[in-house]
């Protein structure tokens, strides 16, 4: 366990590859049935959404209520491209295009609005997402309120695995780097960050753009798996849903977001048999969890094998020894 490369292989790559292979085998053997597959898909999409929003809100401290807007852009781009070019190349192209347009919009919106503080950013991002939704609802080429369907389905377990793990890893790499630390400094104290040479606008816009990119990718995953997209799916409440995952997992904790995405899927499944009261129970649960665990499941810590109970100090970032 001394060699960092060996340790990383044991704690990261081996479990990941095992997870992939085992699920793949279970799917093929029919043990993981169609319903469980849909659930896994939902979890994966939520992970990408939550992790990318966490980058913006949890790490950089910019309270965004508009993540569904980026998701919508990615979903529509992927849908439009794959509906025209129904091939794997079209799918990958659509996914990338969706991410890039979302990132571009994030960049353009971010530049002026990120000068705002706190709740004012929340409302500006909310406004942006609503404008995107309303435009999608009124454009001809997006087919208005009826939305687009059927979007060719390319997403399968392999794609979900690659995209989810890839997104989480890239975002993790980002937050554990110079640029990521700059972003965190902005969250902690913007004026102090500026005074020590952090270009705070650049930092915020960068985080916002990257977050938007992955929000777009998640939208593409969604469109390609669930084959029906409509503007109303990307409303304000969707942004709230994503925020709930992030806060529940812990602002500034990527593993928290991942765990919360699983947890919410489980909660949702458990509540399904009670359609009449499921929302009431869900609401109560939300309140109770927040009262008893206001900092979220993991706070701003990361889950790791070294995080032993009672150990107060956060695990040190071992980024320096991780060069690939």
């Amino acid at each position: 366990m001394k060699n960092p490369l060996v340790r990383q292989a044991l704690t990261l790559w081996v479990p990941l590859v095992l997870t992939y292979v085992i699920v793949l085998l279970l799917v093929q053997a029919g043990v993981v049935d169609a319903y469980m597959q849909v659930t896994i898909a939902t979890i994966c999409i939520n992970i990408v959404l939550a992790v990318s929003l966490n980058l913006i809100t949890g790490f950089t401290g910019q309270f965004s209520l508009g993540h569904a807007g980026f998701m919508a852009i990615g979903a529509y781009a992927t849908a439009l491209v794959t509906m025209r070019f129904d091939s794997i190349v079209g799918f990958i192209g659509g996914l990338l295009l969706g991410g890039i347009i979302a990132a571009l919009v994030g960049f353009l919106i971010g530049l002026p609005t990120l000068r705002l503080r706190g709740d004012y950013i929340a409302i500006a991002t909310l406004g942006m997402a609503e404008i995107i939704r309303i435009l999608l609802q009124n454009f001809e080429f997006t087919n208005g309120a009826a939305g687009l369907s059927p979007v060719p389905q390319y997403m399968d377990w392999t794609w979900f695995f690659v995209l989810t793990v890839g997104s989480v890893m890239l975002i993790r790499n980002f937050v554990r780097s110079r640029q990521g630390r700059d972003a965190i400094a902005v969250r902690e104290d913007e004026i102090a960050a500026e005074s020590i040479g952090v270009n705070t606008t650049r930092s915020k816009v960068l985080a916002f753009t990257i977050g938007a990119f992955f929000g777009g990718v998640a939208g593409g995953m969604y469109a390609s798996y669930f084959y029906v997209i409509k503007p109303e799916q990307f409303g304000f409440l969707k942004s709230i849903d994503i925020l709930v995952i992030v806060v529940l997992g812990g602002l500034g904790s990527l593993s928290g977001s991942v765990i919360a995405a699983f947890l919410l899927a489980i909660i949702s499944t458990l509540l399904q048999p009670f359609p009449g009261v499921r929302m009431i129970l869900y609401a109560l649960l939300l309140i109770v969890i927040m009262i008893f665990r206001p900092q979220g499941l993991l706070g701003n810590r990361e889950l790791s094998l070294r995080l032993l109970p009672g150990l107060r100090k956060r695990r040190r970032d071992d980024a320096g020894t991780e060069a690939a």
Binding site: F63, M279, L286
Partner: protein, 294 residues
Amino acid sequence: MEQLAQQLVNGLALGSIYALIALGYTMVYGIIQLINFAHGDVYMVGAYVGYFCMVHLNLGFVESLVIAMAVCTVLGVVIERVAYKPLRKSTRIAVLITAIGVSLLLEYTMMFFVGADTRTYGVLPPFMEQSFNVGGVLITMKQIIIIGVSVLLMVVLQYIVRRTKVGKAMRAVSQDADAARLMGISVDNTISFTFALGSALAGAAGVLVGVYYNAINPLMGVLPGLKAFIAAVFGGIGLIPGALLGGYFIGAAETLVSGYWSSLYTDAVVFGILILVLIFKPTGLLGSNVREKV
């Protein structure tokens, strides 16, 4: 010209409703910096209480209005004590999520009991169905009532906050809760009082809307809640005159965009204006525009 005047009357009535809801948002925000997402749902409950009073108990408009305000007052205080008070020391975003939980809880509990379908206030007393033609501009009695009651309640509110002892305590708590404690102010009671006041206004707005549109449903609070929040931010959140200004502005903007362009883009335009205003005036129209003192 006539049409413009008509549209402005329409906008004024709509704006009054936003302003009433926005006031509650702004007061709560002012005192504990919470975007109280459940506020729109308190308004919904107010509408249902009014409905129950008028349709099932056959009470008059004024009695129903008062009862709805009273019930909402209690509801607001209970929400604050049960759901928000335990989170006094937590991050604001945690309280925000709790507020979302409370919002869903109110919506779906109501839906559980009364169903999702729209309810109507039914036949109103004839005097409320009157309308007046002022130089070609049609003004209904209901519009007059809405504007009148809103303005009255706002004046009362402004008096309470500016002139009374408890109003002073509210401002003290909002500026520095610990220092307020050292003055002998009970912070918890003051916060509860703020919620009571804001919720009472929301309850009044609920009944007014029920009468005005003659239609209520358990999700009716979501959209106006959002709009009112925007109105509050627009005017400068935490400021009572700001909420008023924001409410009227959004009412007028919506009406004019629908009236002279297309309803398709009403919300988009309102949000667009909002973003622009914030970019040039980052703390809202009436907010003071200074950078934090370091």
